[in-house]
Symmetry: none
Subunit: 128 residues, 4 copies
DNA sequence: GTGGTCTAGACCACA
DNA sequence: GTGGTCTAGACCACG
């Protein structure tokens, strides 16, 4: 799996990593149970520090996306993804809210906004 | 207009301020040309540092939402909101992407996601 | 509040820190809403690295014991402690189980074990 | 005797092994003097590394739970279990302390905690 | 001055 | 060789 980082971005590297791995799972490029590269190898591959990758993995583990298996190393959770909890819905709305507000301000029609969300959804889904 | 801050949030206060003012404009509670409180008074009203309010206003000015006059004070841009530029579209997609990916991972149907976006859109729009 | 670390212990320093702060809260020496020392000052006080303290605070934050307030710094959660969730009960049993088993093996009577737990409970509670 | 391992747990496998064997003795499923499987066979049975089983057995031997004979193989100590030493009491208190503290923090009544310990005690004891 | 992030380098426990 | 822990030192965002 290819990781694309923007080192200039104000989004922390570990967050970019988390997002890309989640997108990898969403797109099906990373299957349930599939092994992920070790902290060290991924770190050297993408040219960041070991601890940065470690932090990303730690977050993914806590949120229930991956497991750290004592024998197989790091793997995508083989059973299932984290469920849609009330906390998740809240977080999702909190994140979407300013995006929607900004779109409204700039005069973007609701239909266009929905179309964009749908487009992104398909972009991610069709990447197999 | 009422500002609701979450001081425990990992979202910086100035960003929360920016978001809430943008939502205020989106909802119509803040009209084009309408005056905003001065840096000093807003800061004391909501109990945050002068710098924090200043930073929020500066960002809003740079993005074209408000104007800062030496004499008239701070007002919502009287003419128009910033347009939908290619840069805006890019930023918007960049922000939406991880949200959509996470929704897919957790098994949220595309229709439900779209419905949520639509709900948020209406929540913001119908506010007075 | 006095922190006692055992640098020779196989228990990680950040875990010892977490435990001692939790005990501080349990004993009432740390009140709800009370401020904790900054990462840096605590680190230099007890002679460990800043990151070690940071990790302890991060865990306490995630578990709901403390809050990182953008203005007041780090404080004990002013509202309440984390509740007794099913996950907590499970974890608690998982931790108690080997301790109880070992006590049985060595011939400790159930009554004595219960008395020891009760003693520890009072030791912690009466420290005000 | 059935061994249940959790390979995702943060508890080392050898520790899980030690705990389960001790619980086996505590429950009476493993009698004094009863033979245990060889390192090799146990390792292949439960699918872990030889070193892991070896480490578990070594610890159990050091603590006085089992004996390792060149010819007879591994057996539960035929004479007696290790006694209640001051060191054991200290270790036990050290382990119980953070568990009790956490229970207090979360508002668990002392009676409930004692009841849980008692329950676990009976769960282990009544197993055959 | 605070916490957050990142890097570099080291040692250890684990399997 | 893996992840886990700890240290040291640095820069930045925030208020």
């Amino acid at each position: 799996m290819i990781i694309q980082l923007d080192l200039q971005s104000d989004v922390p590297i570990y967050t970019q990593l988390v997002n890309q791995i989640i997108e990898g799972i969403a797109s099906g490029r990373l299957q349930l149970g599939e092994p992920l590269p070790s902290v060290r190898s991924l770190a050297s591959d993408i040219g960041v520090n070991l601890h940065t990758v470690n932090k990303a993995y730690t977050i993914l583990k806590q949120e229930g996306y991956i497991q750290v298996h004592r024998q197989k190393g790091v793997v995508v959770d083989p059973v299932a993804m984290p469920p849609i909890t009330p906390e998740f819905r809240e977080k999702q709305r909190r994140e979407l809210r300013p995006i929607v507000a900004e779109a409204i301000c700039r005069g973007m029609e609701k239909e266009e906004l929905l179309r964009i969300v749908e487009e992104i959804h398909q972009e991610i889904s069709r990447k197999e």
